[in-house]
């Protein structure tokens, strides 16, 4: 090869390396940016009067006088819509039977779309589910529902070789010549007056419990459950891990037993997380009977086993990083080995040990698979501290899965899902960030 080609190869080799790091950073960005962008939308959004009605009725929040004046002004505009509906119903009665049946079907679609937009119409029975008691609480959703009202969606399946294409037909044309035709332009023009959108900072998203399986309300039960599980796991795993690390670094003698224990540690670190869940179910719940069925304590114990190897490894590294001189100085002053460990080495290694602990805390908070069979329920209210031994809890990680994959209206509550993911990612990344900062300070300190 000539020298030019070798140079090109060298450069491109560097480019590939840097490129792959850039791709990793991009991957992080691509995953995090939509989560952050849409997640913030769960807390800051353009809320409608329906949102304020819901807040007042479900959480007793908001100024009732101001709210009733708002409701009155929105009702003034809604009244015309309702009048048009009753007018059309009267018109329906006068039609020929076959024409009436045709319009009846279309009309009930219009009513459903209007109910989704504005809430129950006059004359409707009181809805059983809270989700049907209010119209659209978010303005961007209301605009989607307005589109549903104005246009009927149809599927074009003429070409059997490709997937069907969706296309839209204006409903107003369908009602041409009847009194209802006026409804569509009217709603389109006056939607803002009917819903009164205004910028909303819904801090309750963090502190409220959910209403009607997350259609409204916040995610406090999930956040609390995540904290219970993660901190419970730390309570078990942290002391055990530090003690085991002290044994490995200070007392273990090289030999078969020691290498076996180390292998056990790395095996434990490599066990797939779902297997921890199965073990938790088979051991803690079915055999040890720590609780009747799923409970926070069973989940915390399972998570504790999962994060134990990480804590041991981090604590070992932190203890080994303590300069030898510390130990020698302490021993030369006449203190015993145990005394040296307790008063000199552990305090010096503490920041490093804490770093490992904080990272493990984040891991325990984010992990889903071990708690599926041991601790998590999909719907539930926040539990008290006394219930951790007997009752399961909703948790962020599990409920993200549940809302995104198993909820009956998953696509309608995307903002709640994004908000949950953002909450979880924020908790985990903040923990990790603090660990990174902590470690940077330690390495600075050790360098002197």
């Amino acid at each position: 090869m000539n020298i030019g080609t070798r140079k090109i190869l060298d450069r491109s080799f560097t480019a590939v390396g840097i490129g792959s790091i850039v791709v990793m950073a991009l991957a992080l960005m691509i995953v995090v940016v939509p989560i952050v962008y849409n997640g913030i939308g769960a807390v800051f959004f353009t809320g409608t009067v329906e949102h304020r009605k819901m807040l007042h009725a479900e959480f007793r929040r908001g100024d009732s006088q101001y709210l009733s004046s708002e409701v009155a002004s929105s009702n003034r505009y809604r009244a015309k819509v309702y009048d048009m509906l009753t007018g059309f119903e009267a018109e329906l009665e006068t039609m020929a039977p076959e024409k009436k049946a045709e319009y009846q079907a279309k009309y009930s679609q219009v009513r459903t779309a209007l109910q989704a937009l504005l809430g129950p119409l006059p004359g409707d029975p009181e809805p059983m589910l809270t989700r049907f008691k209010y119209g659209q609480t978010r303005w961007e959703k209301a605009e989607e529902k307005l589109h549903d009202l104005l246009y009927e969606s149809k599927w074009d399946n003429t070409n059997p070789n490709v997937m069907g294409k969706e296309y839209f037909v204006s409903r107003a044309i369908g009602f041409e010549g009847t009194s209802l035709a006026r409804l569509f332009p009217y709603v389109k023009d006056n939607l803002e007056n009917m819903l009164l959108p205004e910028f909303t900072f819904y801090w309750g998203f963090i502190t409220d419990s959910s209403v009607d399986s997350h259609f409204f309300g916040g995610i406090w039960p999930e956040i609390q459950g995540t904290f219970f599980l993660a901190i419970g796991a730390m309570l078990f795993a942290f002391p055990l891990g530090v003690v085991a690390a002290v044994y490995f670094t200070e007392y273990a003698k090289p030999g078969f037993l020691n290498s076996m224990l180390r292998s056990a540690n790395s095996t434990l670190a490599g066990v797939p997380s779902i297997v921890f869940g199965m073990f938790g179910l088979a051991f803690f719940i079915n055999t040890m009977k720590v609780s009747e069925s799923k409970s926070v304590i069973a989940g915390a114990l399972t998570l504790a086993i999962m994060i134990l190897p990480t804590i041991i490894r981090a604590a070992e590294e932190a203890i080994l990083a303590v300069p030898k001189t510390y130990r020698e100085a302490s021993l030369s002053l006449g203190s015993t080995k145990w005394n040296t460990i307790a008063t000199v080495i552990l305090p010096a290694a503490l920041p490093g040990i804490l770093t490992g602990g904080v990272i493990s805390l984040g891991r325990a908070a984010g992990e889903t698979a071990p708690i599926i069979f041991t601790a998590a329920v999909s719907v539930g209210s926040a539990i008290g501290l006394a219930d951790v031994f007997s009752s399961p809890t909703p948790a962020l990680s599990w409920n993200i899965y549940n809302l995104a994959s198993e909820h009956e209206a998953a696509t309608q509550i995307r903002h709640v899902q994004y908000g949950m993911v953002l909450a979880l990612v924020t908790i985990v990344l903040l923990l990790n960030l603090s660990a990174i900062v902590l470690r940077a300070r330690i390495s600075k300190k050790l360098k002197g």
Partner: protein
């Protein structure tokens, strides 16, 4: 430590060591060490317990149904009466996403590790490492959510163009590079400088035209592909590779760092460029450590649950043809997670125990690969430090 000779003047009781006190100290020391040991031993006990309790519930399945159906049949109808428990398609799905993610994550991870250990200056490395740690820290369910809610619809709606752009961006630089290298290699033996130059240019143009043709031909084929479902093996492989990357990068960076400076400097002294040094000397020296990193990384992909459960489509069949990554698949972990809720009601049935059989399979694979990677690392350390 405090021995007999205590000065006459400060004869306080604290420093007097009587025989009784010494025995007490000894007992306390032994007891303390025993306690420490028992805590460390606890980890080994847990590992044994995990094996025991998963196997205890897995063995009844093989007693009821035998081995052959589980490993050879693709009929997975556990809820039927009587049920069918052929897990071949599920095992195949697991292997497929593991392999797919390894194909993305291994080259990228090793390249990034080389870059971190040998190419980037320290100041930039400082910022690159937290990025990798953040990627490792993001919870798997967040990745799964991203795969399901963002990536899957994108793939379904714009699958063809995405594949085409991916092909162009990823392949064109490498194709360009290989054209240059091949042209150079083929003309290297020609002695006459003028003729060599001529040949060189001709080859470059011919190969260049051919590669442009290849790029566009394959690109247009890819552009025409319509992805029927966004929740497929490719989606999962991409996301799993993100999750395996941090492990691969950090472990193989350790392996590369363990290769001494003298080897690098020797290679530079012989006139090798940096790329040649890395490829021909450092990578072979660190190869076993990198292998260990790869094993650990793909184990992470094999054992991952949430992403595959949410975004793999969970359809238990072997894709048609077998390498079709654009079809929905089902994996072992997702099957365990998804079916346990229903099977839990029928504890004792084959339907319940088959899930533990899958767990045992995962456990054994992870145990073996862990042992292997550990042996490899120990051996590399011995070789590098011994010579």
């Amino acid at each position: 430590m405090a021995d007999e000779s205590v000065g006459e003047r400060n004869r306080s009781n604290a420093f007097v060591v009587t025989a009784r006190k010494r025995t007490l100290q000894k007992v306390a020391k032994t007891a303390g060490e025993g306690m420490l040991f028992s805590v460390a031993f606890f980890v080994a006990v847990i590992v044994l317990f995990i094996f025991y309790f998963v196997a205890r519930d897995a063995i009844p399945f093989f007693q009821i149904r035998g081995f052959s159906e589980f490993f050879t049949s693709t009929n997975w109808y556990p809820a039927d009466e009587p049920g069918e428990f052929g897990a071949l398609a599920i095992i195949y799905g697991s292997l497929m996403v593991t392999l797919g993610s390894a194909m993305i994550a291994v080259p990228m991870g090793v390249a990034a590790a080389i870059c971190l250990s040998d190419i980037l200056p320290f100041s930039i490395r400082q910022y690159a490492k937290p990025v990798i740690e953040m990627l490792a820290a993001i919870p798997s369910v967040a990745f799964g959510f991203f795969a399901l809610v963002v990536l899957a619809p994108l793939m379904q709606d714009h699958g063809g163009p995405m594949l085409m752009w991916g092909w162009w961006i990823l392949v064109s630089p490498f194709l360009l590079l290989s054209v240059i290298v091949i042209a150079d290699l083929l003309t290297a033996n020609i002695k006459d400088e003028k003729r060599r130059q001529q040949r060189h240019w001709m080859l470059l143009i011919a190969l260049g035209l051919f590669s442009i043709f290849l790029l566009f031909k394959v690109g247009s084929v890819l552009n025409g592909i319509q992805i029927l479902t966004g929740t497929n093996a490719l989606n999962v492989s991409i996301i799993l590779s993100f999750m395996a990357l941090p492990t691969i990068v950090s472990v193989s960076e350790d392996a590369l760092q363990a290769v001494g400076r003298d080897i690098r400097e020797g290679s530079y002294a012989l006139g090798a460029t940096r790329a040649e040094t890395i490829i021909k000397t450092i990578l072979p020296a660190a190869s076993s450590g990198i292998l260990a990193a790869v094993i650990l990384g793909i184990m992470r992909a094999l054992g991952e649950t949430m992403v595959v459960w949410m975004a793999s489509g969970n359809s238990s069949h072997i894709p048609e043809p077998w390498f079709n990554y654009l079809e929905a698949i089902r994996t072992l972990t997702a099957t365990i997670a998804g079916d346990m809720g229903e099977a839990d009601q029928v504890t004792g049935s084959a339907r319940f125990h088959v899930l533990f059989a899958m767990g045992l399979l995962l456990l054994i694979i992870s145990f073996i690969s862990n042992l292997v990677s550990e042996r490899i690392v120990v051996r590399q350390r011995k070789i590098l430090s011994g010579q």
